[in-house]
Amino acid sequence: MADSYKIRDVGNLILQHLDYMSLLYDRQSGITHIIAEPAPQIIEALGQDVMKAAQIEHILKKQYDVQMFEDESSDSFEDIIIARLDEFVDLGLAEKIISI
């Protein structure tokens, strides 16, 4: 079973798109993160919900042309999403809910 993810408190986050990068200010830590696509889109897709990477992938594929990510990388788009989510967990922005 794949793990699920949840933003710890989406109300604490301010997301600002700039150009190819976006700003993410976290009120709880007071830290500003500068993040590249598709990280901001993942946060927007997750919102307040609990989701698996595959669900996020599904949402993003409906809204964006994600072909470029798959072309650029040997990883699948789902793997890219999981890698970003795990970074969010390490940064204390998200929680991983491990399925057994």
Binding site: I14, Q16, L18, D19, Y20, S22, Y25, R27, T32
Partner: protein, 283 residues
């Protein structure tokens, strides 16, 4: 302890020194600045050891906000010591505006902000422009208001280094200069009093219209910079961005979204002035 008070833009300082000559120099250079009684910060120059007040006098710089292990300076460089102490109070203590390590000038009610490392020429450029039709606002810190995003002046004594001293003696031969301090840790240093209108209007801010990252000593070039890079560079150039939390984030975000930014490389002041005028007219 000998003492004097000075007001620079919105900030005020009480300066104490066991040596009267340092206070005399400050009072001469800051003669036209206000002298408030209730000051924001205290900076002191004290003898490293009691006997060092007289024998090879060596000045320890202290203040409300300090970095551990600040190296003492010979008394001849006392004015530089005060400058460093005052900078440190602003850098570590000030929260009323977002501080950018940048120079700034104003024309037609709009401000040009120039950010860069020391050696980039930002300080000299602001000093030159201050004598060529712009109002000098500051050579070291640009203060960005949280509520309306305006840049506020911080027109301290301009601190000229090495070749910039000669440049400004030619540019403004009648301006008032401080004593020449040779071979300081930052090279030769001499202060110059900003033009009179800079001091008279030091409470008058201006909406930022252009952000520049000057690069002195390279072939002339203008390059536009994207907001995310500007944001990253300015977080590095700000001493209080992190401490301001969400307020600082919002202030910097607005600046970056509202104001076009360019990097300019140049070989001399005239070349930079031409590029700046060109960018300014395109706004």
């Amino acid at each position: 302890m000998h003492e004097t008070n000075i007001q620079v833009g919105p900030a005020s300082f009480r300066i104490g020194s066991v040596w009267k000559e340092v206070i005399d120099q400050i009072e001469m250079l800051y003669a036209s600045y206000p002298k408030p009684k209730l000051t924001d910060y205290t900076v002191t120059l004290d003898a490293v050891r009691p006997w060092r007040r007289f024998i090879r006098p060596s000045a320890a710089i202290n203040g409300d906000f300090m970095l551990p292990d600040a190296a003492p300076l010979p008394l001849d460089h006392g004015l530089l010591g005060v400058e460093m102490g005052v900078n440190l109070q602003m850098a570590l203590g000030w929260r009323r505006q977002l501080i950018l390590h940048a120079s700034s000038v104003e024309k037609d009610g709009k401000s040009l902000i120039m950010s860069g490392e020391s050696g980039s020429g930002k300080s000299t450029l602001s000093a030159i422009l201050g004598h060529r039709g712009w109002r000098f606002m500051g050579d070291e810190f640009a203060l960005i208001n949280h509520d309306n995003g305006f840049a506020m002046p911080y027109p301290r004594m301009i601190s000229l280094k090495n070749e910039a001293i000669k440049t400004m003696k030619k540019e403004a031969p009648h301006a008032q200069f401080g004593p020449l301090m040779k071979d300081t840790p930052k090279g030769d240093i001499q202060h110059i009093v900003p033009p009179a209108d800079a001091i008279r209007k030091m409470e008058q801010g201006a909406k930022p219209a252009l952000l520049l990252f000057p690069n002195f000593g390279y072939d002339a070039e203008i390059r536009e910079i994207f907001p995310s890079e500007v944001f990253m560079r300015l977080t590095q150039a700000s001493t209080n961005f992190v401490g301001l939390g969400e307020t600082g984030f919002n202030t910097l975000k607005r600046l970056v979204l509202d104001v076009p930014a360019f990097e300019i490389a140049y070989q001399n002041g005239d070349e930079a002035e031409n590029m700046i005028n060109q960018l300014w007219e395109q706004l």
